[in-house]
Homo-oligomer: 182 residues x 2
């Protein structure tokens, strides 16, 4: 990709994230974005059809770096590779606590519902590989898609609670909370 294109795209993404941490998505105009990104109006529309598409692409890039839904080289298959030492969920909590990819900022913002929604969606594939966590529990008899959904739900909601209450617990402690709540 052309360097100019990359720079514009990056500038727009960064400006957009900065605005999303400050203001509700519905109250962000294209004029705001291009001013913050310091690019022309035409440039914006040559990259993105609308700001809704921009949001979608942002979430795509964001969660591609956290999870490994895409199998191409941009995505480092981080989560699945690092499974050995830490456990997947602790690893996720650590990532978030470090504010990697500004995810924490976005999950703490007025727009958190949008990003928690995407988060849970991406978590579903991961949950499928973690069904063993419910071994021996009563829920084991319930339908598989219910159990997958349950794991993703509990994780997302514990994470939401953790963020809302200001990350008072360590990643290790909150992982413990998650397992107890499951």
């Amino acid at each position: 990709m052309d360097r100019r294109q990359r720079k514009s795209r990056e500038a727009i993404f960064n400006a957009f994230v900065r605005l999303l941490t400050k203001r509700d998505f519905a109250r962000i105009t294209v004029a705001d974005i291009i001013e913050e990104a310091d690019v022309g109006r035409t440039t914006f529309y040559s990259h993105f059809e609308t700001k809704e598409f921009l949001l979608k692409e942002l979430c795509g890039e964001l969660f591609c770096h956290i999870f490994d839904t895409e199998k191409d080289e941009h995505c480092h298959r981080h989560i699945f590779r690092c499974e050995g030492d830490d456990g997947v969920f602790l690893h996720l909590f650590k990532h978030i606590a470090h504010n990697d990819n500004n995810l924490l900022s976005l999950l703490s913002s007025e727009n958190n519902e949008i990003f928690f929604g995407y988060f849970k969606e991406n978590l579903l594939t991961l949950s499928k590989s973690q069904l063993d966590l419910l071994k021996g529990r009563e829920v084991e008899k319930l339908p598989e898609n219910f159990r997958i959904n349950h794991i993703a739900s509990v994780f997302t909601e514990v994470l939401k609670w953790w963020v809302d209450t200001g990350l008072k617990e360590s990643p290790e402690t909150i992982t413990g909370y998650f397992y107890m709540a499951l």
Copy 2:
């Protein structure tokens, strides 16, 4: 309240709910609402500052009828009164399955996130009175606000799953799922 006022207000609310079940909130204009409600533009703005406020008031009325957050005579304290026979949660599932107050329609619509958000919020006070459900479980040691949040979360997420998969289970069965998932 003046009969004319009541009629206009009702017409606007009903039109708004009808539109919310069809279209995303962001894509609903004031012009759409007043056309569907068959009232004048001025009338709309004499009742509600913006459509955002209309949404807020709608949710207020909606969940006032389902839960009993308000203690005045409009609200019948339904949930707490009927505690005897059924159990609160089964009662809630039944209410929703019957599409009382069009809540099911709204929870099934494109705008479900908005209403599930309000739903969980209102559920928190109820959850506080149901902390005994976690007796004997490992989570009991965790902070109270975590446990309250956990009960409300699991209920909301089970409900979401139930609605998303098309209410295939009976209210009794899904209540069982909820208790097992807790």
